[in-house]
């Protein structure tokens, strides 16, 4: 299915490491995924899995030092972003690829009005004059559903609520009609009723403007709500990569299954949650084999010694797990027995 559509972004074997006094942190260590035109791809995982570093790497916004993209390719419309100069990247940022962040409270500059902050990006990339950019900024505020946008444009961020600020961030990100919007936990800091408003708005604007979205989140509910395809990340690697439908109906990787079982559900009662034992490994000291092996209920000698590849299974899902390979001898253990 993905092959038939136009690939706008193709990330191949991306590696972003941080060189610190305590050693090398392999925060992103071989990440592959692609994004089709007009679709929403979810990057899912818990804190420290490398999902945010991946998104910052795409825009080359990793602080260097200590961070560095040490390998891989990020093909945007066929061109490798890693090979581009800083000046070329600046023309892409905020223009062709935009980003919104988790903390709407701190992501806007407190000393400039929101109108100025939106107009700035228009003047930079669209060569608009002061007045024209301001008018367009007000239009953008109207588009993202901010009431009395003319007045709001003249206000500073501290005069707006959290939900309003995230709308302003979206207005700023979409002002130049980018082809890709990277949304890094855009609703995590917001209350649920406000989250519902923002997700609804993003869907509406995607339908109108046709951009592709990379939705970075830890919330499987948000994934089910918004994403077409999903890459599940664990300890710097993609462990499962499939359609949202497949992920929820037939999760394959033991980590994905563990995540779903850990989640207290709103629609059913369970006496005890099936928690994943232990903690995520330190990025300074990753396990040699499968990175989930120390926490995996099915791990064997093979899992502890050798890292599995991200392989395509029969329903088109990609999964990084020995259980789905011919090498697996514990064949009696199947996904159904794992409590899916």
């Amino acid at each position: 299915m993905p092959g038939q559509q136009e690939k706008i972004l193709d990330v191949r074997n991306l590696q972003t490491h941080f060189f610190t006094d305590d050693g090398v942190s392999k925060a992103v260590d071989g990440v592959d995924f692609s994004l089709n035109k007009g679709e929403t791809l979810g990057l899912v995982g818990e804190s420290g899995c490398g999902k945010s570093i991946t998104s910052l790497s795409i825009l080359r916004l990793i602080a260097s030092p200590p961070g560095k993209i040490v390998g891989g390719e990020i093909l945007f419309k066929g061109q490798d972003l890693i090979a581009k100069s800083e000046a070329e990247m600046r023309k892409i940022r905020g223009n062709e690829i935009s980003m919104i962040f988790q903390e709407p409270m701190t992501s806007l500059n407190p000393v400039y009005t929101v109108g100025e902050q939106i107009a700035e990006v228009l003047r930079l990339h669209q060569n608009m004059g002061r007045k024209e950019a301001w008018e367009k900024a007000v239009d953008m505020l109207r588009l993202v559903g901010i009431p009395s946008p003319e007045k709001r444009a003249t206000q500073e961020p501290h005069e707006l609520s959290g939900g309003m600020r995230q709308r302003v961030m979206i207005a700023m990100a979409l002002a130049c009609r980018p082809e890709i919007l990277i949304a890094d936990e855009p609703t995590t800091a917001l209350d649920v009723t406000i989250q519902a408003q923002i997700l609804e708005l993003m869907k509406k604007l995607q339908a109108e403007m046709g951009m592709s979205i990379i939705m970075i989140t830890h919330d499987l509910g948000v994934v089910a709500e918004t994403c077409d395809r999903v890459a599940v990340m664990y300890a710097g690697k993609v462990v499962e990569y499939t359609t949202a439908k497949n992920l929820f109906e037939n999760p394959k990787h033991p980590y994905t299954i563990g995540l779903m079982n850990s989640l207290p559900r709103l629609d059913e009662d369970v006496e005890e949650l099936v928690a994943i034992k232990g903690n995520v490994p330190s990025p300074f000291n990753m396990p040699t084999g499968c990175r989930f092996a120390p926490r995996c209920p099915h791990a064997t000698e093979l899992c502890h010694s050798k890292l599995p590849e991200l392989l395509t299974s029969d329903d088109g899902s990609k999964v990084r797990c020995w259980m789905y390979t011919p090498e697996w001898d514990g064949a009696s253990k199947t996904a159904t027995e794992m409590g899916v």
């Binding site: 825009l59 992501s107 000393v111």
Partner: protein
Amino acid sequence: MFVYIVRRLLQMIPVLLGVILVVFLIMQMVPGDPAVLLAGEGASAETIAKIRTQLGLDQPVMVQYFHYVTDVMTGDLGTSLRSNLPVFDEIMARLPATIELAIASIFVTVVLGMVAGIISATKQYSAADITIMIVALLGVSLPSFWLGLSLIYYFSVKLQWFPVAGWGTWKHMVLPAITLGTAGAAIVARMTRSSMLDVVRQDYIRTARAKGLREQVIVYKHALKNALIPIITVVGLQFGFLLGGTVLVESVFAINGLGRLIVDAIRMRDLPVVQGGVLIASVIFVFVNLLVDVLYRYFNKRIDLN
């Protein structure tokens, strides 16, 4: 904002009364009777007693304080014992030079300090950063009279670029302003560096980068205005040190300013002049503090000073 300024002005009344009280008490506690000093050595007891009555020194302390406060309120700071001129006029004659010196020094402090701090912060751990920070450390540690004398030696005596002493033209200002402003510049440089380094880590700077802005725009437009807040506080504090420093620098460069007036008055036991000088300096300091707080509030609207 207006309410805030009015409230701060009202709050200044007790502060100023307190300042007057402290200045008054210090003079009460100073050993030596001004009447004796004024009468001169070997004066008779009657002469002294007469002077005491004239000056009101024979009345209870509370009454003296009350008279002093009412006099100050009407702008009467007394008469200089030495020159017999009104203290207020004496001070006003000397004040312009001191204010010019203070402004020139603050200029050195702010411009030199901030430029050095920004260079340091944007090129963290570079050779420029390390050099600036070492120079800043020296700047804080050097005593100002030594710096002043060294500057005079090299730039006035040897190179003859600037006059050795006196006040009047811009050339007179350069060396004293550098002498007085250097320590502050060093502190401001260090503060600017740490404040900028703190601000560039903020989320909104990441947002600015994600917009595709150039690094210069990010530093000077998005970071600097936010970094100013702690810098303003430090500059405000520096002003206090600066007022104290004028005494030394005015002596070194032979400038007829308020500082020198006070020092001379102390030496001559000219108590009304000392009192008046300290009072005026305190009032200036209190107003500068208010100015700093207002600027602080202007640059940081998130802080509700109410």
